[in-house]
Symmetry: D2
Subunit: 350 residues, 4 copies
């Protein structure tokens, strides 16, 4: 199969697993009191150009839900995009870890929250109203769940609208590396310098193996989160094996190299689509994801050809490029689309 | 340092990390829909001689808390030993995941629940009483947190007392391998055949790296648990890397070999202690843990000699043997104890 | 002020307070083990023509949230109308008491769930999907939050769609009396005979004072709910004073008399509106609520005249008739609307 | 029956029900935005000689659990007496509303926390320890669950030990009036002036009917609590009927008169016991409760005589005096005890 189903169906970067294996010597205190985890704090503080606290966690769902629980009381409302992973795909983990906090979709485009719409929504909430819960936080997904990227200015606008009302800002960075690779700016510019308080720092979708992380920019949040993570079953006693993965992930820019590569493959496919009639991109291709509308019969044909992808609806397919997807795979997909779509378009044109 | 601080300060078994690395090829569906996780179901069903469902999780705390939440309503009471890890060391994760369920210690000896005491406690709870919550489950720790082992008959007695009142039985098997190595019975005989409904299957403390598991014997519990695990952030999208670890853990009896080895080192130390005056075992040494009472000044001396261990109180030290602890390390500890304790005993005898 | 703001701004029926005062003699066991609460079980079982369990609670929010928590696991999805009070006005109490359960709006009309739309929604949920949570229950509001009434056949259709997938059915009966008064059928026909498992039985909005109730039709739900209510702080130790209110509420058909009266006043207003240009009903007037669209300037004028009502938007006003609203009040409102709207309409027609 | 079973088996003070009935006129905004609730804020602020926020709630369990949830994060530890009602009798409501917070008993005498023991316990908790949760609050019960009273100095000592570690102080004042009547000090001296941050203000046990209250002394806690109460189903839409009860409860010192009366009856019984052999008080009688040890056969005889009381164990009975208990009832109990105990003592002396 040529697999475009997701970026989490793929392998891990060999460098990451090698680092994990290299960490297997001597003894070390448990629950994060080891030298790898200490080095991780320093390494990420350097990377983000500010003192951060980094907490490795098993999954992005844990990172998101526990981050939101750290910045919202249980009676809080967390605003996010309708398409946000936290809203559509995490079994309401945020509601669970947050003790009943409520996610409230805010309008936007291509999976992004728009500052103006957020501002309008907040303007409609009377201070002190009891019946709906209290606005508490905003969550943005960078890159978005429809494969688009916020500019730092857009994030800053959202942060301003949020903070004018005392709300905190969370970034779901499951594909943060892909967003950075697109933006070409520094991690700091795309996060705390735009007002992000806490971040789900994804690795799994971009060549990671068994961990993601929470990066805390607002230092007053960190101590309580440490306890909450412990009771949430997210603190490995042999934490070194998680921290070693995250250290390797960012070592020598590996993470950005991998993101650039998967973005480039997606870009190659998007460029090639221009010459193919009968398929329509439903969102701009800005990272490693392609949302493409074309007839269901062609989906059947592609699957028969051995391509894997995700059917979002009968006529909308999602293709995701892994960090190790190849140009040959991209060209094979384009050829197959051309092969199946051209006759379909010709028939439709008759 | 010669490290007796815990069995989670140690390395992982190289076989386990090698299996993880070997799993890094091709693509596979996420969230457990991969071939490694399918093989894991079969492998553990063979191991336990019955159809089980196995869910890899990041930590023993997650395994315990989510198991208990699966067998108790949020208004339930879960009986356990005063010394149980769930009661003393997991930041009330059970109360959190269980929506406010309450742990209630039951008397026993050496960290074990005693069936008679459990029966008496339950006899004192009127059916339908509202004010204290409803008895829902019992949790036993095998081996116990004081390093002792339940016989299958003891577990069965507890299960009978529990089930006579409609309570479920959970086993915290963080050191299940060590208990099995001691008992010499089959995994089935020590678990579901004694009435265990659900089990935290530990690997980390016995040479594992980044995962433990929940093993479900009562099939009606499994589907709901699968959803709960997803929202608890315990379902890796690249699950293959967890399942591969667990497959390697039990392959060719590795787990039992490691447990036998760490038990043997502890046994060697316990045997050697017989000839050393001034130290007193506070619990029988049945697995890889030694609870030893001796003067604080001798603790200082041992630390100065480069031994690591855990001070439970000013005069009680815990020594835990890792799977790769050596006879030389055991003999070194005995020699140091002899060296420091003999003069102390002599002084005391004067 | 002539007060149309809500049916909870009003007085209580004097009969209900008199009953409360009459209950103030002798001693009685606490927490519902008194003779009034026993009589309530019998009285409501007679009323509903089946053995029910009745639990008095302080508020409708408690009734709704605890009912839903009784029929959904914490990872459950509860389907309801977008306009449902549980979704818009109870500060996500359902999510809180339900440990993170999620409300999911289903399309419909005038605040009602439509069986076909529910069926389609459920058809789109794959059994065993983990990422969104598990469908668990449906909640219908009778009468709806837009003042309309389900026929028993409509409820039955929803129940069938729900139960085909194993979902439970809850009815928020905050205005159940008003719905019954409209339908002219028996309490049984409008509840369990249509498949309702558990019901929030409202009294407060219809002349009650300090309590509503949960009525349990599915007997297997009742014992656990009793414990949950105790810990939810909803079991008065002097329960007699709550049960006496509920007994008086249904005595000699008081509840239906009051509902008929408030419905009739709303009907009188609706009839009178027919001759007044410039105002538009946005939902049929089937109970005691009127949703009326007219210019904001006229709202200002009405308020200046001393009428109270609720502004849902700049051009949509809600008028609610209390059980003791009078025909004179209705006629005064109609006169004022006529006075302010006719010139406005004339101006608009020029 | 002469009823000593509890102070919640009794009637309500007629003045309170009369006030409730008097409040039944005109319309008023719902959910606490009425004039009675506004007056309540002022009246209690006068009573406590500081600006307080008062939230009427349905039950003492709600008052306790929601107060604790307001001063502890979900990973917090709340220290209390082993005998505290929150620990023994509220179905772990604190754990539920607190999202899994944990109650930890601290040693003391007669149901009271002792400052020194609390200090020692806290000294044993390392700052930043993750495994047990974080110390968050202390709860004292005034009067205690064994019928004894803290002096203001004792409360102050506890507050100092707590606040030295950043913990908040809650008072469960289910029998606060009885304690005040005993102490003879002002409400302020017995609460916030000793360091109490938030208080469950009981009325039900002392002649109330259907509500207790939370009194907030630390103003920064109040706004969030208001939202939490709304979603907890503790905000009546017709709040006036609750606030009117609480206003009447304290009007003209009614509450203290009632407490003095029930205390006096208990004191009369205690005094009379001095001359009766064979019964032993297990705690000093300082308010309206008597804990008396005597043979089970005598308990049977008392019940046969028509006395009601609560059997705490086979040889320990609790007698509680209601606000309207009479001297004749006290004398009848003494006579019966004398009648049954003297022969028993004589037999024992043979």
């Amino acid at each position: 199969m040529i697999d475009y189903r997701s970026d989490n169906t793929g392998r891990a970067a060999p460098e990451i697993l090698e680092a994990l294996v290299r960490a297997n010597h001597d003894t070390a205190l448990g629950y994060g009191a080891d030298e790898w985890t200490a080095a991780l704090q320093q390494r990420f503080s350097d990377l983000f150009e500010t003192a951060v606290r980094v907490f490795p966690v098993a999954t992005g769902t844990a990172a998101n839900a526990l981050s939101l629980a750290a910045i919202s009381p249980s009676w809080g409302i967390v605003y996010c995009s309708e398409a946000a992973h936290i809203n559509t795909s995490e079994a309401n983990a945020a509601g669970f870890f947050g003790g009943g906090l409520k996610l409230a979709p805010v309008g936007g485009e291509y999976g992004r929250v728009v500052a103006e719409r957020l501002g309008e929504t907040l303007a409609g909430v009377a201070p002190g109203q009891l019946h709906r819960g209290q606005p508490a936080a905003v969550s943005v997904t960078q890159a978005s769940d429809l494969g688009t990227v916020y500019s730092p200015a857009e994030i800053r606008g959202i942060a301003e609208a949020a903070k004018a009302r005392g709300l905190r800002l969370h970034m779901d960075g499951a594909r943060f590396a892909n967003a950075l690779a697109r933006l070409g700016c520094s991690p700091a510019e795309a996060s705390w310098r735009c007002g992000v308080d806490i971040m789900s720092f994804g690795a799994t979708k971009n060549g990671g193996a068994l961990c993601d992380a929470i990066v805390v920019f607002a230092p007053e949040l960190a101590d309580a989160l440490a306890v909450q993570l412990r009771r949430a079953g997210q603190v490995w006693s042999k934490m070194r094996f998680a921290s070693a993965q995250l250290l390797a992930y960012v070592e020598n820019g590996l993470w950005l190299d991998m993101a650039r590569s998967s973005n480039a493959i997606a870009g190659r496919i998007a460029a090639g689509l221009a010459g193919i009639p009968g398929a329509r991109l439903t969102a701009p291709v800005e990272i490693n994801e392609i949302f493409l509308e074309f007839p269901g019969a062609v989906m059947d044909a592609l699957e028969a050809d051995g391509f894997g992808f995700y059917r979002r609806s009968k006529t909308l397919a999602r293709f995701v490029c892994r960090f190790d997807a190849t140009e040959a795979e991209a060209d094979a997909l384009l050829a197959a689309l051309r092969r199946h779509l051209a006759p379909a378009a010709a028939r439709a044109a008759e």
